[in-house]
């Protein structure tokens, strides 16, 4: 897990310094959230491929996709809060919901996959997404609040 955190940290540093985009108060959190969304999409593609190749049962597939749906919905709530410039505690609460949904998917879906190779692939992919989320949390904790406009 430590190795994966190092990898994700390097990814985010490269992404932030390569992006060249205008920096807002939550810029680091936005970049990390974007990495999470990309990671979730990659996880879903990997899961569907495992299912289509017959390595995951229909029950396992349904359970995991239900978990992905909850995570995606929590992600939309977080993104909407960031788009509207919500206060940091609101965004942190939305992020916590997202973290909880991801933990639930790991415990109730991924760790229940019977095929060991499929489980290893999905576990590694979801752990990457979890590591990215902890970066979002770190970025939010260090974000400088925007001064209120008159």
């Amino acid at each position: 897990m430590g190795h994966r955190f190092a990898v994700v940290a390097v990814l985010l540093v490269v992404a932030v310094f390569s992006s060249g985009c205008p920096k807002g108060a939550y810029h680091g959190a936005v970049v990390a959230e974007h990495a999470f969304t990309s990671g979730l999409g990659a996880f879903q593609k990997a899961e569907i491929a495992e299912y289509q190749n017959g390595r995951i049962s229909v029950e396992e597939h349904h359970k995991i996709e239900a978990g992905i749906e909850k995570i995606g919905t929590s992600g939309i709530i977080l993104v909407n809060a960031m788009q509207s410039g919500a206060a940091n505690p609101t965004i942190s609460a939305d992020l916590q919901l997202l973290i909880d949904s991801t933990t639930a998917l790991m415990n109730d879906g991924v760790l229940g996959v019977k095929n060991p190779n499929s489980q290893a692939i999905l576990k590694a992919s979801l752990q990457t997404a979890q590591a990215v989320l902890s970066n979002v949390q770190t970025e939010l904790n260090t974000a400088t609040p925007v001064a209120a406009k008159p």
Binding site: C21, E33, H61, Q83
Partner: protein, 70 residues
């Protein structure tokens, strides 16, 4: 007296190169992810990124919903 803490080794250029090589060799998914991230972020404002992510997440939710009926 407790066990003395292990001293942290400062990062070096060779260490950074080793990590990047390790990513390329052992983490092809992560390596592809960073390439995709850089492409996706280049020249975009935070608002652009969030708008694009909202669309992507909606698509992920729609696919997940559809997959549960298969």
């Amino acid at each position: 007296m407790g066990t003395p803490a292990t001293p942290l080794t400062p990062p070096s250029a060779s260490g950074a190169v080793a990590i990047i090589q390790e990513i390329a060799m052992l983490e092809p998914i992560a390596f592809n992810l960073v390439a995709s991230l850089v492409r996706g972020l280049k020249g975009k404002s935070d608002a652009d990124i969030l708008a694009s992510d909202a669309t992507d997440l909606s698509s992920i939710v729609a696919i997940a919903h559809s997959e549960q009926s298969k």
